[in-house]
Amino acid sequence: MGYPHKPHPKETVVLSKHFGEADARTHKGWVKRGGYESLAQALTMEPARVIDIVKESGLRGRGGAGFPTGLKWSFMPKEKKKPHYLCVNADESEPGTFKDREIMRWTPHALLEGAAIAAHAIQAEVVYIYIRGEFTEPWAVMEKALAEATAAGVFGVIKLYLHRGAGAYICGEETALMNSIEGKRGNPRIKPPFPAAAGVFGMPTTINNVETLAAVPLVLKKGAAWYKGLSLSSPKSTGTKLFSVCGHVQKPGNYEVTMGFPLKDLLYDLCGGMPPGRTLKACIPGGSSVPILNREETEGCLLDYEGVVEKGSMLGSGGVIVFDDSTDMVYQIMRLARFYAHESCAQCTQCREGTAWTTKILERILSGQGKTADLDLLLDLADNMTGKTICVLSDSCAAPVVSGIKKFKKEFEDYIAGRRKPVSVA
């Protein structure tokens, strides 16, 4: 659902409060809404104090890994000996995820303000905002907002730059993103060294997701306790989260709810449920890289970092992909695998070859030529592709395959046994 629209009563509108208000995109409009007050306040504070507040708020990374943001900032050297950098990961490319896009489209200044606060906290003088190449409209909005805010002098000594990606999923991986900023091929780097020790240009670097940083001004303005209070469940998951819901629901779109919100309510209340006459079959709760949940798991799942893990998946980026009972799970999983095979950076053997082979096996099953042994082979391949490579792209390809075979095995077997009509995989 596009903006503007009235939020659903069950939403907790914090980040998305001004979505749809064209005026909020301007510096003047943002200031009118109380914008840049948090930054002005932060710049008068000791960096360590800012980090402490963010730590207390319980804010965790919204890009997928859910790492505590304040803790991440605290890894930066206290005593600054080299230039420090902040990278903003706005390369939102996880299939099923489109929340950062809306933040940049509607509240670019929230991101800029949050980024500047973070830069102050980690003593960085330069911020690189790495924006997905396909995001043409968000790019234009961000460019304008940055120009206006810079002209207004709100950032003090901090310099912010926009850097445009060129259309590679892997450049959303933090170290690949840094290579890309440096003008190199977007290959993930071996860790250690971690970015806080040697990141972009070999200097201490922190990298945060757009949604994470957009929340920071509010944390400062309303206090850590307020943010921490925005939780329905685990004290380890606080605040609100934007969920991008796509697939078989009546009202797909972005929804902002507090941590711990039931996934069932998100799908059936906020999104209006499945199309008429259909029932829920499966759901990928956190972007294409996380394991698939079946109906029971989905309907019992609480949307916070711990709740989703409890059901065997991950909160990830909050990209919720919904499948109703008309869905061919084998086909969907093949499409995911094909995506990863296309996007593998080709460094690690297991990923380069494994994602492509996985795709070929799935295509063959769909075309009616599958063998019974193919399922064990897929699982064994997935095992080889999990936890053995530089980054997690290969793991991400394996996750839906493993969970898919585990939970929807019959659909695979039907293709293999010839009980289901082959489909074109071109």
Partner: protein
């Protein structure tokens, strides 16, 4: 340096290594070779092939030995079921797009993909023959390098060599996923003077030397440690011979001289070692013509000419013969008013940017420094002038020298040039591939080379020829081996004092 050692065990073997050592290097010290492809000690770590997966106690998952530093008390297992299965998985994946064309591949027999697959790979693939394999045509990368993309495992050693060592980044990884291949700059060529190293670095048969293409199967080769004669750098090399023909020169690692590399000039500088127009028997002048004879007569003739003789003796020697030969060639003329000279062909210097003090040197001879240490000088013109009036002139393996002399000309060499037909005596000697000896490189480093093939006919090492003459004329006993020859040299020349063949070993003075 009193670096503190870090203690760890690898497959049950305790080792102590300096802090910062990589597990893969520590394993070597424990006698364990962790299978690997992308790792190479002469290149920056890439950590991409994932072949060196090992089990490290307390680590949550398998780690790559090439990018993991040792830690005190670390327990590494390369043979745990998890580690073996992880590596087996990598091998299977490396082979799915591989053409398996070992029977026609130059690398077969010295291929790390073959070796590790035999060692710990799957007996059969599960990659159905229904699936197509990646195909890309062979590319001409440079003067001596072919790229066979179908065999490539994308370890990126070649890319890293050109980027970080040669510092001429003409190669990259192009494309993504399983479409990836090694690309070359659209206007670039792999024609850097050190580019040939990518062929050695390639662990599979993907980068091939045109020069070596289809010349031999790896198992037909015999190998001998040698020293490159291409310049004064003294790079350590291996001479590969097939049926006593030198067919390839490859670098032999020596961290003090050439690390893991040699230049293309040195790599291609071997064909002369196989020349067919060699002198195979000693020749003596009789009735105005040279006649073949045996060593006894030939040495007798030279000895009789030199015995009791005096006057000026001029030696025109090659800076490509052994230090031992140069020593005894000088000893021979003790009773004479001796002078010796050599000349060195000069060329362009071509440094390898990423390695300090490593270059194809302008001075294109391996033993100029050795000749200098033994008293030979570089004023060749004056030596030639002196030769005209000298009583005896010795020419040592310099076939292109236009020497005119009123005295006796003794020519000692590998081949017989037209000009040397005026010689009283012609003595056939072995070339560098056919004998043992030493060279002294530009930094004064004395290095041994070893015999790779037999000398033709009756040709003998030059040090033996001169040592025999010295023994005949001056006494002091026969010299039976190259080691003895070197000992005699070391005993009388200050710069070599204290050195011996065993002490020099394969890598030079310790």
């Amino acid at each position: 340096m009193a670096d503190e050692l870090v203690n760890l065990t690898i497959d049950g073997v305790p080792v102590g290594v300096p802090k910062g050592t990589l597990v893969i290097e520590a394993a070597k010290q424990a006698g364990v070779l962790v299978p690997h492809y992308c790792y190479h000690p002469g290149l920056p770590v890439a950590g991409v092939c994932r072949m060196c997966l090992v089990d490290i106690e307390k680590a949550p998952k398998l780690q790559i030995a090439c990018a993991t530093q040792v830690a005190e008390g670390m327990v590494v297992r390369t043979q745990s079921p998890q580690a073996k299965s992880g590596r087996m998985g990598v091998l299977e994946l490396l082979l799915i797009n591989h053409p398996l064309d070992c029977p026609i591949c130059d690398q077969a027999g010295e291929c790390e993909l073959q070796d590790f697959t035999f060692q710990e790979g799957r007996p059969a693939t599960r990659y159905s023959p229904d699936y197509a394999k990646r195909f890309n045509p062979v590319e001409d990368f440079g003067p001596d390098v072919l790229y066979v993309p179908n065999r490539c495992i994308l370890c990126t050693r070649c890319v890293r060599f050109m980027e970080d060592v040669a510092q001429e980044p003409v190669l990259n990884v192009s494309e993504r996923g399983d479409r990836a291949f090694i690309g070359i700059h659209s206007e670039g060529r792999l024609d850097h003077p050190w580019a040939g190293n990518v062929v050695d670095l390639c662990p599979v048969g993907s980068l091939l030397s045109k020069d070596f293409l289809h010349k031999a199967r790896a198992w037909e080769l015999d190998k001998a440690a040698s020293i490159c004669t291409g310049c004064s750098q003294g790079c350590n090399v291996t001479l590969d011979t097939r049926e006593n023909v030198v067919v390839r020169v490859r670098p032999r690692p020596n961290l003090d001289v050439n690390r893991y590399f040699i230049c293309d000039h040195g790599r291609m500088n071997y064909r002369w070692m196989n020349r067919g127009d060699r002198i195979e028997a000693p020749l003596v002048r009789r009735d105005g013509e040279l006649h073949a004879t045996d060593w006894d007569e030939a040495l007798d003739v030279v000895a009789s000419r030199l015995r009791g003789a005096g006057g000026a003796a001029v030696a025109l020697v090659s800076p490509r013969v052994s230090t031992e030969a140069l020593f005894f060639a000088r000893e021979l003329f003790r009773g004479h008013e001796w002078s010796g000279a050599f000349q060195v062909v000069m060329g362009e210097e071509a440094p390898l940017a990423g390695v300090p003090n490593l270059a194809l040197r302008a001075e294109r001879a391996p033993n100029g420094r050795g000749a200098e240490l033994l008293g030979y000088h570089r004023d060749y013109a004056s030596a030639l002038a002196a030769a005209e009036t000298a009583a005896v002139v010795l020419v040592l393996d310099e076939p292109d020298i236009a020497v005119r002399t009123a005295g006796k000309l003794v020519y000692v060499g590998t081949v017989l040039p037209e000009r040397a037909r005026d010689a009283e005596v012609v003595l056939p000697i072995a070339n560098v591939a056919e004998e043992e000896g030493t060279f002294v490189n530009r930094d004064g480093r004395v290095q041994r080379y070893f015999q790779a093939k037999p000398a033709p006919g009756m040709a003998r090492p030059a040090w033996w020829v001169f040592a025999e003459l010295v023994a005949t004329l001056q006494g002091g006993g026969h010299v039976a081996t190259a080691a003895d020859a070197f000992d005699r040299l070391a005993a009388s020349i200050e710069a070599f004092r204290g050195l011996s063949y065993p002490q020099l070993g394969f890598a030079g003075p310790r």
